[in-house]
Amino acid sequence: MMRRFPQIAPPLIALAILLVAWELGVRYGFLKPYQFPPVSRIASGFVELSTIGFPTGVSIWSHTLTTLVRVLLGYVGALALAIPLGVVIGSFQVLDKLTAPLVVFCRSVATLSLLPLVIVWFGAGELTKVFLIGYGCFWVMLSNVIAGVRYVDPVLVRAARTFGLHGGELFRRVVLPAALPRIFAGARMALGVGFMVIVGAEMIGTIEGLGALIMEARTFYRSEITIIGMLIIGVIGFAISAGLTALERLLLPWAGNLDAVRR
């Protein structure tokens, strides 16, 4: 604990200085409060959000929970589709080459530009939001699974073949485990993308969710609530990616890091 303290201290101190300067800047009129809502207002906004809610009855916790559920649904759905598909494409070089530009193209399509189409396809309900989030996650995951399967170190495959492994068993016992670190990295990136999409996805048909909260706050010129929404997304994203790293260490104790496997 003592040892970790100095590592955390400098950024915390820097942050504290920044916040105090900000607060004072607003108090003494160097910054306009509606442009840079002071820390005190953000803090009281947070209290208000967690008690009364914004709008009334929808507390910050239910905004957060709603968003989390949407992100998880889209994310899990995307993973469930992308992993098997990526494994198939990655296993056949020709398939990979055939689909490569297509995958890059689809990955580059901004989810926001799909919004008008998706509303027409799926209406303005939950499905649309989950689809948009899932779309963003899917392509990132797919590219990583394909790469993971394709770039397995050939020496490992050779070694396995000398032990008489081939076909499905070779795939299951060697190719898949060797691809796991990449697949994990993909899963982490995909989750990041899932979060990037939430505001776009929640622009329609809802007042619940962090993305909706941010847009709603904008309508009423509550810049402190906008900032709270952003910060919560930031903190959740930060925490989840840290959690995934820990999970990866737990599940793949042998990997060390991706660089140790990639060559």
């Binding site: 490569a100 990955r107 189409l117 993305g211």
Partner: protein, 259 residues
């Protein structure tokens, strides 16, 4: 025939093209035969003809140029800031410990969420749009630059020290070039993301640009065809420019880096 197949198999580009053409073909057939409802998801030919009716080539070119201009300027700013901050954070340990948590905290925030603040801070003109695109480019580049700095082979730095370099020259002449391959990767991802946030950026009081074209079409209840053409154009633009950047990077970094 088998000769053709053989050359094809070794030619990634041709195979990729075949894949893309096949996908468009399947889509066209599905829409024509009614497997998907053409009013919901028009065939490419239908989408293009619908778009051609509603848009002149001139408007389209104008939208295209504006989008390209925005992506390009926002990206340049984001990439420069990302590279500078990432490199500084990697090189100066104190600076790194301070800015890294901040960057990690801000990274997951969707570009759309920045729009209200972007407008309040930068107004409605080009600066706020560029700011959103800036964000798209900044985060991948700053991370790549930082990771690149942290993974410089220390022997390179030591070698340079023994040749009499230290301080800023060591950073500029050795650390920065040594980071170039990582930076190049970050730059490509950042370029892709800049296109990804283009639509978000053009939500801000734009009156031209491909993103505006898509959103405007939605707001005025126009044609799905125009939206699809917009999406295809952004994707194609991204794909082409990315290939160009990739080739440029390969010419420059690839000469010595091999990858």
């Amino acid at each position: 025939m088998s000769e053709i197949l053989k050359t094809l198999r070794s030619n990634d580009l041709a195979l990729g093209l075949i894949g893309a053409v096949a996908a468009v073909g399947v889509w066209e057939i599905c829409a024509r035969t009614g497997v998907v409802d053409p009013t919901l998801f028009p065939s490419p030919s239908l989408a293009i003809s619908a778009a051609a009716q509603r848009l002149t080539a001139e408007t389209l070119a104008d939208n295209l140029m504006w989008s390209l201009f925005r992506v390009f300027s926002g990206f340049i700013l984001g990439a420069l800031a990302g590279a500078a901050i990432g490199i500084a954070a990697g090189w100066y340990r104190g600076f790194g410990t301070i800015v890294r948590p901040l960057i990690e905290l801000l990274r997951p925030i969707p570009p759309l969420a920045w729009i209200p603040l972007a407008i309040i801070w930068f107004g409605l003109g080009e600066p706020s749009k560029l700011f959103i695109i800036f964000l798209g480019a900044f985060f991948p580049v700053v991370t790549a630059a930082y990771q690149g700095m942290r993974s410089i082979d220390p022997v390179l730095l030591r070698a340079a020290q023994t040749l009499g370099l230290d301080g800023l020259p060591l950073l500029l002449w050795v650390a920065v070039p040594a980071t170039a391959p990582d930076l190049a990767t970050g730059v490509r991802i950042g370029w892709g993301l800049s296109f990804g946030v283009l639509v978000a950026a053009e939500l801000i009081a734009a009156d031209r640009g491909l993103g505006y074209m898509i959103i405007n079409e939605r707001n005025t209840g126009g044609s799905v065809g125009v939206i699809i053409v917009g999406i295809l154009l952004i994707g194609a633009l991204n794909l082409l420019t990315d290939a160009a950047i990739g080739a440029a990077i390969k010419r420059w970094v690839g000469r010595w880096h091999g990858a």
